[in-house]
Symmetry: C2
Subunit: 205 residues, 2 copies
């Protein structure tokens, strides 16, 4: 599906948010939703919503809005093609071990296949195998892993990333407080909790 | 400093990232940096960087680039005015307790003053007081807390937010997988880990 390359990253990101809103509507037995209502639920302008959905052709019916099930399954087809991907987590410190305990990934169809650390130790309530980082390359190649969650200290982040990219990782969710240098074909989404707080604090009166 | 209202949110967000890069340059004893080099380190276009920094007037010297210390302290003045703000965390589940153990906030000048939960229990290695949610309102008002980290289940998120906003919270870092409805004067940054992964997975070949 090479066409997907033409959809802007930010639109793809918003599709995930629309999908979450549609799931809530389905849970509440709502059949149709106006673009205005869905946009408000997703926290975007309705012009933005219609623009994003237009990439898949005309999905709504003027006056009637969108059929919730139909729109949800269309977006699911677009986003879902890589669901049930194996994901590895590298760096089992406080944040890393928390993410291993955190159920939120599985719910969305992602399974953390293994975690890696310099000094692996068993964690209570964690079933994911925690392996020495020296075994990362073999694991990535054997299981054809393409996605990684990075929770190592900033000082190690770039060297770990260089290694995992060499081994075949194409997408990285980066929690290390540093900006990563990666090749063109690798996508990085960074979540910097301190930056988020700093940004929020700016807006306080 | 009402002028700050005129700076776009996304620029403010990038300032935090530039600041992090500048801190690394200072650690490495680098005195000056070109806009191209700083932009690359921050993962933005240098036109974007110059546009962001132009909000504070001409900071660079053509040909010489930016003085690292000067730029860093200017950005620090802009962003830092609300540092050492007390922050509360609401919802001490897996993710919430991890964030309480996580050192990354303090490093950036934020102190989690207290955490709240329906069933508070003491956590090993956690010094932050964990209080019953019934005490949240009094705590927010007494300590004039303006910032909150939200790590409650999606089902409770909106009602907890309504309460904290009534009590005086103006900025929320939301980890609950839901879109929050807040008044104009309240800022929400949402971090949805599953959405981040879903978004990444789309770009895998």
């Amino acid at each position: 599906m090479p066409a997907k390359i033409d959809i802007p990253r930010k639109s793809i990101y918003r599709l995930s948010i629309y999908q979450r809103c549609l799931q809530r509507l389905r849970e509440n037995r709502v059949d149709t939703v106006s673009s205005a209502a869905l946009a408000k639920a997703a926290g975007v302008k309705s012009t933005q919503l219609r623009k994003d959905l237009a990439y898949f052709g005309q999905l709504g019916t003027r006056g009637l809005g969108y059929n919730v099930d139909a729109l949800s399954s269309t977006i699911g087809d677009v986003l879902g093609q890589n669901k049930l991907q194996p994901v590895i987590l590298v760096g089992v410190g406080n944040l890393g071990s928390a993410l291993l305990r955190y159920g939120g990934f599985r719910k969305e169809g992602f399974e953390v296949a293994a975690a890696f650390d310099l000094q692996p130790r068993k964690l209570p309530q964690v079933t994911v195998p925690i392996l020495p980082i020296t075994e990362m390359e073999a694991f990535i190649r054997r299981n054809n892993v393409k996605m990684a969650i990075l929770t190592v200290p900033a000082s190690n982040a770039q060297s770990v990333v260089n290694e995992m990219v060499r081994d075949g990782i194409q997408a990285i969710l980066n929690f290390s407080p540093t900006v990563l240098d990666v090749p063109e074909h690798v996508v990085v989404n960074s979540v910097d909790l301190a930056v988020e707080l700093e940004n929020l604090s700016y807006f306080i009166r």
